[in-house]
């Protein structure tokens, strides 16, 4: 439960960071989607029901901080979590390079889904002119920030121990799917 609230707190903090501080420092295409990184980590490390609940709530938080309609990120993150679960059973999720590859895949999937939803449901096809040219920058930024976060996370694990409530790859992999 502590881990769940930690995810929620981190999600709210990331949303605030993405809407307040990062716009002052980085142009739109170079701003990372920190919540997406959190979602991918959530999909890999938490059990399914907890990952789904947290994912839906994080999607709702992100929806409240961007775009005009509630529900877009809820749906997108649900699909990303389910896809991550399906993949995580087949992959060695403890490998950091593989994790970064997952971040890249997640970024591409997220862009595809947002483009699809907005074009099909919201009749906002011009969004493709915004999304497509931004993909290379988004990939690069998300991977750089994910590397930094992963590095910090592993540091924290060493500092506080693997059983301190912070969901971590090494600890969680033993309990994966429980």
């Amino acid at each position: 439960m502590r881990g769940f609230f930690l995810f929620m707190f981190a999600g709210a903090f990331f949303a605030l960071l993405q809407s307040s501080l990062l716009p002052l420092l980085l142009p739109p295409n170079w701003r990372p989607n920190l919540i997406l990184i959190l979602i991918l980590y959530l999909g890999l490390s938490e059990n399914l029901s907890r990952a789904l609940i947290a994912g839906l709530l994080l999607g709702a938080i992100q929806d409240s901080f961007c775009g005009p309609s509630l529900g877009l990120y809820i749906s997108v993150y649900l699909i990303i979590i389910l896809a991550t679960r399906l993949l995580s059973d087949q992959l060695n999720i403890e490998s950091p390079p593989l994790l970064l590859l997952l971040i890249a895949g997640g970024t591409l999937l997220q862009n595809f889904l947002i483009g699809f939803y907005l074009t099909i449901f919201a009749d906002a096809a011009p969004v493709l002119h915004i999304l497509l040219p931004a993909i290379p920058q988004q990939l690069l930024t998300n991977i750089i920030f994910a590397t930094a976060l992963l590095f910090m996370l592993l540091r924290f694990q060493r500092l506080f121990g693997y059983r301190s409530g912070l969901a971590g790859l090494m600890y969680q992999s033993k309990h994966h799917g429980s």
């Binding site: 809407s19 307040s20 142009p27 295409n29 919540i35 839906l56 992100q62 389910l82 907005l118 011009p126």
Partner: protein, 272 residues
């Protein structure tokens, strides 16, 4: 049956949840201007934090600029004095033009001016994604604002309020892909629908034979009832005419520079 359900539990759960989220999204698309309880709660709780972060960043920037980073101060001072003289001259010219304009208006009995009360607001946050273009302002229901009100800056139209909380509101910028505004080319009164494309704008449904040139100013047409008529929106950047198309392809640059947007005005009154 139970065995079947238990075997495909994951698949069923995934399908049900996916359908539920798609229905939720479709429902909210129809309720575009309605702010849900969840969104209102998030906006309400996040506004003080966003205001705080904005204040801290402003203080740090001001301290850095005013007391620490003084390398080019003297040089800048000279440049500013020069610019000041130039601006004074321009101001005098502008006052002269303004007086002339006033006289002409009275002469032609041409009344086409915006006469509505407006409320100043400060930008405290931006969109948390790279594809949507929205901002958060520090005024909400408590200040008398509501969904749909137009937001402007000194240079022109900024957007309209789409979500509102007691002390903050989310504004959909004209550059957002879901924004569409009825516009006129000021010079020729050609009509079109101006849509957002992230950084710039495109004008849809401008007839092929219509006279539109680079540098033309686009203004709001007043159709749709959100924006008052005649507000500056964008400058035409390029015009392309396909041989077989009914409409011409027009790209425009917003008159407002959204990367430096700090204060805005919300037009609160109705048309007189």
């Amino acid at each position: 049956m139970r065995e079947l359900l238990s075997r495909y539990r994951f698949l069923l759960l995934a399908i049900i949840l996916l359908l539920a989220t798609v229905i939720l999204y479709s429902y909210n698309l129809r309720q575009k201007t309605a702010t849900t309880f969840f969104e209102r709660a998030v906006l309400t709780f996040s506004a003080p934090f966003q205001g705080g972060i904005d204040g801290v960043v402003d203080t740090i920037t001001a301290t850095w600029d005013n007391y620490l980073w003084l390398v080019n101060t003297q040089q800048r001072n000279l440049l500013l004095e020069e610019e000041n003289l130039e601006l004074r001259f321009k101001l005098q010219q502008s006052q002269e033009i303004s007086l002339q304009n006033e006289r002409l208006r009275m002469l032609l009995a041409f009344v086409d001016e915006l006469d509505r009360p407006a409320l100043p607001a400060q930008v405290i946050g931006e969109d948390a994604s790279n594809w949507a273009r929205t901002i958060i302002i520090d005024k909400g229901i408590a200040a008398g604002l509501r969904n749909g009100l137009p937001v402007v800056a000194a240079q022109g139209v900024v957007g309209r309020i789409i979500k509102i909380a007691p002390n903050s509101a989310r504004v959909l910028l004209i550059t957002d892909a879901s924004s569409a505004i009825a516009t006129l080319v000021q010079r020729t009164r050609t009509r079109g629908i101006t849509r957002g494309r992230g950084g710039n704008l495109s004008v849809d449904y401008a007839l092929r034979d219509a006279d539109i040139q680079e540098g033309d100013l686009l203004v709001t047409s007043g159709m749709g009832g959100v924006f008052p008529k005649g507000l500056p929106l964008a400058l035409v950047e390029s015009v392309e005419k396909d041989q077989f198309s009914l409409f011409q392809r027009v790209e425009a640059k917003p008159t407002v520079d959204f990367s430096y947007l700090e204060e805005v005005m919300v037009i609160v009154g109705e048309d007189p």
